[in-house]
């Protein structure tokens, strides 16, 4: 028996347990639940950036066949509204909508049409006429609005040491600004919900990353008891942060259901995915780095200027990496935000690290070039085993190993340190490196296991409100149960994404795997322990779970478990680390470039399943390539709308753009992180890819590209003919 277990327990590269459901179309995503009698809602979006609705003509829409209701601020249900000036947006924030005639940004929902069919709702929505009074004070141009920036009152500004002294000790200073544009999450599955209001009770099949927080947000917005809300997110087709919080379409659907007395489905269109499901905001990051001739860092300052909406506050922690990645005594991190008439930004994959590491790891490269030092050695020289920000040790940190092993695999020694010296025909060839780090949270998780004995076989069902956002949660949780119950994975059934199940932190911030698996472990361990205790069997005695059930004369048994960080956990900083290496070929005539190969080394704790882990890193790298090559959402400077409206103009990488990618996981045992030694991996991949590629482009062309994305036109403007940027 033990053999078959070993092939499906933790650490094995098994196929996804839910894979066949997806291939057969049986995995039900939010909009696919067969809810009877449902109707369709179509949101209507504002076409001004700021102002007031002065009149609404719904007559034509209402005349159409199939139309049940046109909801605007005039007849909408009263909801709890945001209080105070720009409250901070959180994963459980309320999401009031249609509460006044005020418009705060282009694309804000101003109405919802409910009709029998999707087509009727869509057509009717286009017939509702709004007249606006435009407010000319709309803030839509980032560049021109910098004077409006304020310092957020959230305690995130930070400093240690003495900056002045740090810079006075420096032999070299790099002072540069790095720009990253608005980016959108764009998971493949559109945000969608089917909501029913039934005598004050709400059921919502909704695409969410955290069902518990969605439940809190619905109950908070409608001011109904939490127990009367049920949220189901059985399968989620990607989120990247955009489904962390509850977006307004869910509230619209619930409200509409209450008003028409039938279940209402609202699917956000791809165009609305730009305006109504959050985004990563534009960041202007000013870096100042001081170092001695021998490469010792003396000071590091990281200033981020960004924007939030006029109604809510979000600030991406771009400076986070600068606080902890290197050994620098003097460090300062500051933030400023411009309130703009654009929707509220929110966390997008590796918030802080993805963008912050572009600035930090580019600046590090610039410094290495100034110092005439190998950028790899410069990083290694400034390694630290202490998190100087928190003033505590890292639970484990293999950054230097990642860099060294990656360098070996990649062939870093063949890199020409002088830019523009590696050429082939029209191609300029360069190598780049960057370090990556990502905080590895571990959060309180509840779980339940149900054991059922069928002859000699035990079948286990694990239940928790965790989500699988395409990452492989079902699979690794099943493997965990297989591991701790010592039964083959085929005998494990995992049920997720229902708020009636035990509460977990959901998927986000790279905490899912560690939290869910330890939660499942705790329930399984609890089950076995209880079964042993009931029969006075020593806890360390190996007894098969089927035997335990028999000895207890049970054919069915349930146990719950809770996993949470130990006291030890709080004494350490727990992070995953990594290194990115890339080889880039730039065509000097056209500015087009090809990423020929990438090597990514990750030290991310216990690898639960090499296949799903690899998928996370590859996905992260691909998203990082998107950041570098093409992804950007631009705001029209006169009207405030996004000029990208679909995948035809919001470009993400295609297969051909991707390199030969080698991913290496370093074996790591970090029991401080949690009992199973699991660390986060979902956001490590995207972190610092942009810098690695940009650094390679510098090595190839001699042009330092400080503004993402790095497009052919920007490279042509930089002048690829000759010269090296200072």
């Amino acid at each position: 028996m033990t053999k078959s277990i070993n092939t499906s327990g933790v650490g094995n590269a098994i196929n996804r347990v839910e894979g066949h459901l997806k291939v057969m179309g049986k995995a039900k995503y939010a909009s696919e639940f067969p809810v009877e009698n449902k109707v369709y809602g179509q949101g209507i979006n504002s076409t001004i950036a700021k102002g007031e609705i002065v009149s609404i003509d719904t007559s034509e829409a209402e005349k159409l066949e199939g139309v049940l209701k046109v909801i605007t601020y005039k007849n909408a249900e009263k909801l709890k509204t945001l209080e105070g000036v720009r409250p901070e947006i959180a994963t459980d924030s309320i999401a009031p909508v249609l509460q006044s005639n005020k418009v705060h940004y282009y694309g804000e929902y101003v109405g919802l049409v409910v009709a029998e069919t999707f087509e009727q709702a869509q057509y009717a929505a286009s017939l509702v006429k709004f007249e606006y009074k435009k407010d000319p004070t709309a803030v839509i141009d980032f560049e021109k609005s910098k004077s409006k920036a304020y310092t957020p009152d959230n305690g995130s500004n930070y400093s240690r040491g003495n900056m002045e002294q740090g810079f006075s000790e420096a032999d070299m200073v790099v002072e540069q600004t790095y720009n990253t544009p608005i980016e959108h999450h764009h998971p493949m599955e559109l945000h969608a919900v089917i909501a029913s209001w039934d005598n004050g009770k709400v059921t919502a099949y909704s695409s969410q990353q955290i069902v518990e927080d969605a439940k809190i947000a619905i109950s908070g917005t409608f001011q109904i008891p939490k127990k009367d809300v049920r949220v189901i997110s059985a399968f989620v087709g990607g989120g990247f942060g955009s489904k962390l919080n509850l977006d307004q379409h869910v509230i619209l659907a619930v409200m509409a259901s209450k008003m028409v007395g039938r279940p209402v489905q609202v699917t956000v269109t791809r165009t609305q995915m730009f305006t109504n499901t959050n985004m990563r905001q534009q960041n202007e990051q000013k870096m100042r780095v001081g170092a001695k001739k021998d490469g010792t860092l003396t000071a590091l300052s990281h200033e981020t200027l960004s924007h939030t909406s006029t109604t809510q506050e979000y600030q991406e922690p771009c400076g986070m990496v600068s606080k902890m990645l290197y050994n620098v005594a003097n460090n300062e991190v500051t933030y400023k935000l411009i309130p703009m008439n654009i929707q509220t930004p929110f966390a997008m994959r590796a918030p802080g690290e993805a963008t912050g590491s572009f600035a930090l790891e580019s600046a590090m490269d610039e410094m290495a070039w100034k110092l005439k030092m190998d950028p790899l050695e410069f990083r290694i020289k400034n390694d630290t085993q202490t998190d100087l920000h928190e003033n505590r040790p890292f639970s484990s940190r293999l950054l230097v190993e990642c860099l060294r092993i990656g360098a070996e695999k990649f062939g870093w020694k063949d890199r020409k340190s002088e830019p523009r010296t590696n050429k082939k025909g029209n191609w300029l060839i360069g190598y780049g490196v960057s370090s990556a780090s990502r905080n590895s949270p571990y959060l309180k998780t509840h779980s339940k296991v149900i054991l059922e004995l069928d002859e000699d076989k035990v079948f286990a069902t694990i239940q928790m409100d965790a989500t699988d956002i395409g990452t492989g949660s079902y699979t690794i949780i099943a493997q965990t149960a297989s591991e701790y119950l010592k039964i083959p994975v085929e005998q494990v059934n995992v049920e997720l994404g229902d708020s009636d199940f035990p509460i977990t932190p959901g998927s986000g911030g790279s905490w899912g795997a560690a939290s869910f698996c330890n939660g499942a472990r705790a329930a399984c361990e609890n089950a076995i322990k209880t079964l042993k205790n009931n029969r006075n069997i020593a806890e360390d005695k190996e007894v098969a779970v089927s035997e335990l059930l028999k000895k207890n004369q049970l054919t069915k048994f349930e146990a719950e478990g809770i996993a949470e960080p130990s006291a030890e956990f709080g004494k350490y900083s727990v992070f995953s680390f990594g290194a990115n290496f890339s080889e880039v070929w730039v065509d000097k005539d056209t500015g087009m470039y090809r990423i020929k190969r990438m090597v990514n080394v990750a030290s991310a704790g216990k690898i639960l399943n090499p296949k799903t882990a690899y998928g996370q890193i590859i996905g992260g790298l691909t998203m990082g390539v998107g950041m570098v090559m093409a992804e950007q959402t631009r705001v029209e400077p006169n009207f405030g709308n996004f000029i990208t409206r679909s995948f035809a103009d919001y470009h993400v990488p295609v297969n051909l753009d991707l390199a030969n990618i080698e991913v290496i996981f370093l074996p790591e045992e970090d029991k401080i992180a949690n009992k199973m030694g699991i660390k986060g991996i979902g956001e490590l991949g995207i972190t610092s890819v942009a810098a690695s590629i940009s650094n390679a482009i510098f090595n190839a062309t001699g042009k330092r590209m400080r503004s993402l994305p790095i497009t052919p036109e920007k490279l042509i403007e930089a002048g690829l003919e000759e010269g090296v940027t200072a």
């Binding site: 057509y123 029209n426 056209t590 051909l656 753009d657 042509i716 403007e717």
Partner: protein, 328 residues
């Protein structure tokens, strides 16, 4: 989406007869349907013309090939005769969109696809092309991807087609059926028009005219050709700028040139000056550079698309060089 009726025409007569002022012919629908979903195009009737019998590739009296108007882009570009004799056209067509879109897209539809100007796609924005008289949003807005040649104050949009750039370089005649059932021939370079003060009109076609064939001249550039498409990702992206180059070289001298540029004007931009300059000259770097300079000095870029001038120069030289060196 607005309601509309759908008619599948069985023959040319049915298609022409069914046409009304608020009708649109439907090819693969890869452009038209997108614009209908955005409420930009609002036909009351779609007349599907993909079942009409114009789906062949045949030899014509010029010694060239005739491409059926309803044949798909994929079938055209992958046709053996086309690949062998008009590799420049094939290369350009295969650089466009994705395999899925090329499978759907028809040759007639490709010639008539509309601009990708973002103001054109967003009905709440001003756009003279979509709504004559509403103004040109791009003129004082975001115009990094707009024209540098031949534009007017009323519209600065570009034509997005790759196929059309190759056809402009190669030369072609477009056959259209008139509503009265007779047909007429249009020189390819006369099909698209500059915006002038009527940007709503992309082409010189009259309402109800149906494209049924593209007649190609005798093959001239099957040895020396190159389609250079510059874009930010390797597929599924319109060109930031493109150049189609065909050369005929005899005894070390150029005796025929076909050269056109995409992504720079309201029409596929034929580089006539460069063509004339190069005939009789040696195919070398300095001549290619001189030809490129000759064309690009007429460019009138905006602040945001100045890069197109440098990129354009490089692209002309590069496409000619690759064509000459037969590096594909």
């Amino acid at each position: 989406m607005r309601p509309f009726t759908y008619t599948s025409a069985k023959n040319k007569e049915q298609a022409l007869q069914a046409f009304t002022a608020t009708s649109h012919y439907l090819g693969g629908g890869t452009n038209l349907m997108d614009l209908m979903k955005e409420n930009v195009e609002r036909p009351d009737q779609l007349i599907d013309v993909t079942n009409l019998d114009y789906k062949k590739i045949t030899s014509n009296e010029n010694g060239g090939l005739t491409l059926g108007g309803m044949l798909s882009n994929s079938e055209t570009a992958n046709n053996k005769e086309v690949r062998t004799n008009y590799p420049l056209l094939s290369m350009a067509m295969l650089s466009a969109a994705t395999a899925q879109i090329r499978n759907m897209a028809s040759n007639g539809g490709n010639l008539l696809q509309r601009t990708r100007c973002p103001y054109f796609f967003e009905v709440s924005m001003p756009c003279n092309k979509r709504e004559p008289g509403s103004g040109c949003g791009a003129l004082n807005g975001m115009n990094a991807l707009h024209a540098i040649f031949g534009y007017s104050d009323s519209c600065i949009a570009t034509n997005p087609s790759d196929m059309c750039v190759a056809l402009a370089a190669i030369g072609a005649t477009v056959e259209v059926q008139k509503p009265d059932g007779t047909s007429r021939m249009i020189e390819f370079t006369d099909l698209h028009r500059l915006p002038g003060d009527q940007p709503e009109k992309d082409t010189t076609l009259m309402p109800g005219e149906l494209i049924t064939a593209i007649h190609l001249p005798k093959p001239e550039f099957s040895d020396h050709y190159y389609y250079l498409k510059i874009r930010e990702r390797s597929s599924y992206a319109f060109a930031l700028l493109s150049v189609a180059a065909g050369l005929q070289v005899e005894s070390g001298v150029i005796n025929k040139v076909g050269l056109a540029m995409g992504g720079v004007a309201h029409i596929p931009w034929k580089l006539t000056k460069a063509e004339e300059f190069l005939v009789g000259k040696k195919p070398n770097q300095s001549n290619f550079e001189a030809a490129a300079a000759l064309e690009m000095k007429d460019a009138k870029p905006f602040e945001a698309n100045k890069w197109k001038v440098d990129m354009g120069k490089n692209a002309i030289v590069r496409a000619l060089t690759q064509a000459y060196e037969r590096k594909v």
